[in-house]
């Protein structure tokens, strides 16, 4: 069974630091800013209509105040 969330926790943080990533089958298939990711997601949904993409942000190494 595909577990994109577990795979997300293992993505190289330095490579995707501060970016949003889209994952399919436990692999990063796109990444970028929130604005950039919109078009990429549209294409991914068209190309993989039977899969549910995983979308989340890789944070920067800073303490957060939210």
């Amino acid at each position: 069974m595909v577990d994109n969330f577990s795979a997300f926790t293992e993505v190289p943080k330095d490579e995707y630091c501060g970016q949003w990533v889209i994952m399919l089958n436990e692999k990063v298939v796109a990444h970028g800013s929130p604005k950039a990711i919109k078009d990429k997601m549209k294409k991914i949904r068209e190309q993989h209509p039977n899969e549910i993409p995983f979308l989340a942000k890789v944070p920067k190494k800073i303490l957060q105040i939210v």
């Binding site: 994109n4 969330f5 997300f8 926790t9 943080k13 630091c17 501060g18 949003w20 800013s33 929130p34 604005k35 950039a36 990711i37 919109k38 997601m41 949904r45 549910i52 993409p53 995983f54 979308l55 989340a56 942000k57 890789v58 944070p59 920067k60 190494k61 303490l63 957060q64 105040i65 939210v66």
Partner: protein, 146 residues
């Protein structure tokens, strides 16, 4: 009722109570992860991310105070599904989406995170338990919540 227990995820040396869930917005499904935030009054999703998830921005507008001052938020409704080892909880929830232009730039990270705040997320659970020593969060669903 089943309980849901999640380990904090470690993000560059800092452990946070971030959990996976599925968003269904008008039939468009996206898996994602959100930070459980007892200090936030509501569920917040950044505007560009809400667009990417297919969430319609047609609800009413509310005003709120944040760390950066007053902001305007559009209300949306989505279904969220939390799954863990065969257990599942499904709820229709109200979400808030910041819409001010000044907070939409790619460099602005104040609202660049999905927050699972108290209303309504916490209301669906009898208990939301943070165990900082074990770095785990446990969600115990409320039977009486529809």
């Amino acid at each position: 009722m089943p309980t849901f227990s999640f380990g904090y995820i470690k993000e560059k040396g800092i452990s946070r109570p971030k959990i996976p869930f599925l968003v269904n917005a008008n039939g468009v499904e996206t898996e994602t992860a959100g930070l459980i935030d007892s200090g936030s009054d509501f569920i917040l999703i950044p505007k560009d991310i809400a667009d990417t998830m297919g969430i319609e921005l047609s609800g009413s507008i509310e005003e709120a105070d944040g760390i950066g001052g007053k902001i305007h938020l559009r209300i949306g409704i989505v279904t969220i599904i939390i799954k863990k080892r065969g257990k599942k909880i499904l709820r229709n929830v109200k979400i808030h989406i910041p819409i001010d232009e000044k907070i939409q730039s790619d460099e602005n990270e104040k609202f660049d995170e999905i927050l699972l705040g108290r209303d309504p997320f916490f209301k669906y659970f009898l208990k939301v338990e943070f165990n900082e020593n074990k770095k785990r969060v446990r969600l115990i669903p409320n039977r009486r919540t529809p």
